[in-house]
């Protein structure tokens, strides 16, 4: 069973602008955000069969709802994030405390070694990939590779709309990759193509990439993704995946969607 860490959007709002999606003038409608978040949770628990671990939201930390950025968890070991923006740095201690309180062996990175958790580090059976340049520092992957004893291929993110790896790159349970190539520089595109054969690469069209089609949660053959991505759904279903489109536009106001709202604990 898949265990996911989530955090309710009690204090979710736009308090600052740290990515191109955020506009202070584009306020979150709290009722709608809550309804969309609960819709996602119901789906994950009831249809997907995921086990949800809920952490306490904190006032004044609106982005804690995006638990994908809490850190990265492999087995019983957790490495909490080191956020680039001071606005999110105050979340670090809460995430770290949660990992410790839940019995994880916590390894911390140096203060100035930016690393934004499972938002930027994603694994396929062939290799792990680490997004850098927008948020995480490439040097973090050398350290993480030592900690986990795994190969991590750093890939450069070149478009600020796709500021985390999980906004444009989604490994699927069958070994396929759902991704949006123009979010990467040509070296990263070549490195990805070298590791993942063409038949396993599902390219998302630009219009759907901008709706965060890649910010999907995949558990077994079930994929939860934001609504409005018909081409992506077609491609996923052709590969035998069952898709669950959901309205999550309140979270897009902060530059996040389904995947950003969860952290895989397995």
């Amino acid at each position: 069973m898949s265990r996911l860490l989530v955090c309710a959007p009690d204090y979710f709002r736009i308090d600052y602008e740290i990515n191109p999606w955020m506009r202070l003038s584009n306020a979150v409608v709290p009722e709608r955000a809550r309804a969309q978040w609960h819709g996602l949770m119901r789906l994950l628990e009831d249809k997907i069969g995921a086990l949800l671990e809920r952490m306490e939201p904190m006032p004044g930390l609106p982005d804690m709802v995006f638990t994908a950025n809490a850190g990265v968890v492999v087995g019983r070991r957790a490495v909490p994030s080191r956020f680039r923006h001071p606005e999110r740095q105050r979340e670090e201690s809460y995430f770290e405390a949660w990992f410790r309180d839940h019995g994880y062996e916590v390894t911390t990175l140096d203060k100035d070694l930016y690393f934004e958790g499972a938002g930027d580090l994603l694994g396929l059976p062939d290799a792990w990939f680490g997004g850098y340049r927008q948020r995480s520092d490439i040097r973090a992957y050398g350290r993480l590779s030592e900690i986990f004893g795994r190969e991590i291929i750093p890939v450069e993110l070149v478009n600020s709309h796709f500021y985390h790896l999980d906004t444009c790159f989604c490994p699927l349970s069958g070994g396929e990759l759902l991704y949006y190539p123009p979010a990467f520089d040509r070296y990263a595109q070549a490195a990805i193509a070298e590791r993942i054969g063409e038949a396993r690469r599902l390219v998302v069209p630009e219009s759907e990439a901008l709706r965060f089609a890649c910010n999907a949660v995949c558990v077994a053959k079930q994929v939860v993704l934001p609504e409005g991505c018909p081409e992506t759904i077609k491609r996923l279903e052709a590969r035998g995946y069952t898709t669950h489109p959901l309205p999550l536009d309140e979270f897009m106001k902060a530059g996040g969607s389904a995947k950003c709202l969860t952290l895989a604990l397995e």
């Binding site: 490439i138 040097r139 590779s145 750093p154 070296y187 590791r195």
Partner: protein, 414 residues
């Protein structure tokens, strides 16, 4: 001349991710160059790789821009350390682990600052002054006990030569020496440089000297008048040679022969083989070549021109010398030191028809000085060109033809 450089390191999964390729491409695209000095590829996929890259650029500003551009891809400037120094254990002895120089421009790091090594020369050591503010090459034999000598390889930078700005024969890699290449344009380029250097010299500019190291074949082959003219006309300022060149030059004046052969007729004259000995004996009786010229005994030729024009002459002896002439330095280490002392300010070296003097001079010169090596034996220019300089030009040709053509390019009428 020298470029600025910095060493960076890259660590992690840099091969399959193409991060190393990206960093190297970035350096080149921005107009820099690099040397991959150390690459360790991880033995398994999990094991990280490691690369050490020397980044070079024409200016400090460009270098800073390049470093800034590659830094986000993980290229960090390597932590630098001062070069280790050890005292010489005895006179004439380097510490065991001494650093042996190349002829390329070199810097050493002392108290956190990069200092240019003075008087660059290959196959010697580097001595640092007591205050640790200056560094200079030192030959093994000149070391004094307790001198601080650079050891190991840390804190030492060897800078490659930049191609010269002038678009002439020296600006191309002339490593291959061929007897089948036309010489005309090469000699014309050399003449152009010599004219420019003479103008500089007349204007009192530093670093405008031309050195010629030559063998006695210059006289036998008929290059004496041309060389004497080049010296009289102010194109040559330092002359390195042996006993023979000077002896046959003065023999030609006193007896009209070179090693007993009548220069004008080209045949042996009776008792001609004694002429060079009689010449040497006469000069020994006078006391010095300079005195022989000043007193009117020797009035024309290469030596006379040198004395009249104040050309610095170093006569280095060898074991087959007759006499020798009183000016010849027979202690070869003392001769080497005299040659070394005459080098500051030399900006062009012509090494003509002497294996011994050409190689000795080549070893003493920093790579920044363009050299022209002329010999009928291709092995000599090849040996000199192999020193790894952009600026070593080799000509396989007869010494007299070279000097006459060069002199004609510069206005000699003969």
């Amino acid at each position: 001349m020298a470029q600025t450089q910095e060493t960076v390191v890259l660590h992690g999964h840099i091969i399959d991710s193409l991060i190393l390729a990206k960093v190297l491409d970035t350096i080149l695209m921005m107009g820099g160059t690099f040397d991959l000095t150390d690459v360790k590829i991880g033995a398994t996929r999990e094991e990280p790789s490691h690369a050490r890259i020397v980044v070079r650029a024409a200016s400090g500003r460009l270098l800073a821009e390049i470093l800034e551009a590659i830094q986000p891809h993980g290229a960090s400037v390597e932590r630098e350390s001062d070069c280790p120094l050890e005292p010489a254990p005895a006179d004439g002895l380097f510490p065991e682990n001494f650093y042996a120089t190349t002829h390329l421009p070199t810097q050493v790091r002392l108290q956190g600052r990069w200092i240019e090594v003075e008087a660059m020369e290959m196959d010697v050591g580097i001595r640092v002054d007591r205050g640790g503010t200056a560094a200079r090459t030192v030959p093994m034999g000149d070391v004094k006990r307790g001198d601080l000598i650079v050891t190991g390889r840390e804190g030492i930078r060897v800078l490659p030569l930049q191609r010269p700005k002038e678009r002439d024969v020296f600006s191309f890699m002339e490593a291959q020496v061929s007897s089948e290449r036309p010489h005309g344009h090469i000699i014309a380029d050399i003449a152009r440089r010599m004219r420019a250097l003479r103008d500089d010299r007349e204007a009192g500019r530093e670093g405008s000297k031309v050195l010629l190291a030559g063998g006695p074949a210059i006289i036998h082959a008929g290059g004496r008048e041309a060389l004497a003219w080049l010296i009289e006309s102010g194109f040559i300022h330092v002359l390195f040679c042996g006993n023979a060149l000077a002896a046959h030059d003065m023999e030609a004046h006193l007896f009209g022969t070179s090693l007993g052969f009548r220069l004008s007729a080209g045949r042996a004259v009776p008792h001609g083989h004694e002429h060079h000995l009689r010449t040497i004996n006469r000069i020994r009786a006078i006391g010095s070549i300079e005195k022989a010229v000043r007193t009117g005994v020797i009035t024309e030729g290469i030596m006379a021109a040198c004395v009249r024009r104040g050309v610095r002459v170093v006569l280095a002896g060898s074991i087959r010398d007759d006499g020798p002439l009183p000016d010849v330095i027979t202690d070869s280490m003392a001769a080497q030191a005299a040659m070394r002392a005459a080098l500051p300010g030399v900006s062009l070296a012509l090494l003509v028809a002497s294996t011994l003097h050409a190689v000795a001079t080549g070893n003493l010169l920093p790579a920044t000085v363009p050299t022209v090596c002329v010999d009928v034996n291709p092995a000599v220019p090849t040996k000199l060109a192999d020193r790894g300089s952009f600026q070593a030009v080799g000509l396989v040709m007869d010494a007299a033809s070279f000097l006459r053509e060069l002199a004609r390019e510069l206005g000699w009428k003969a």
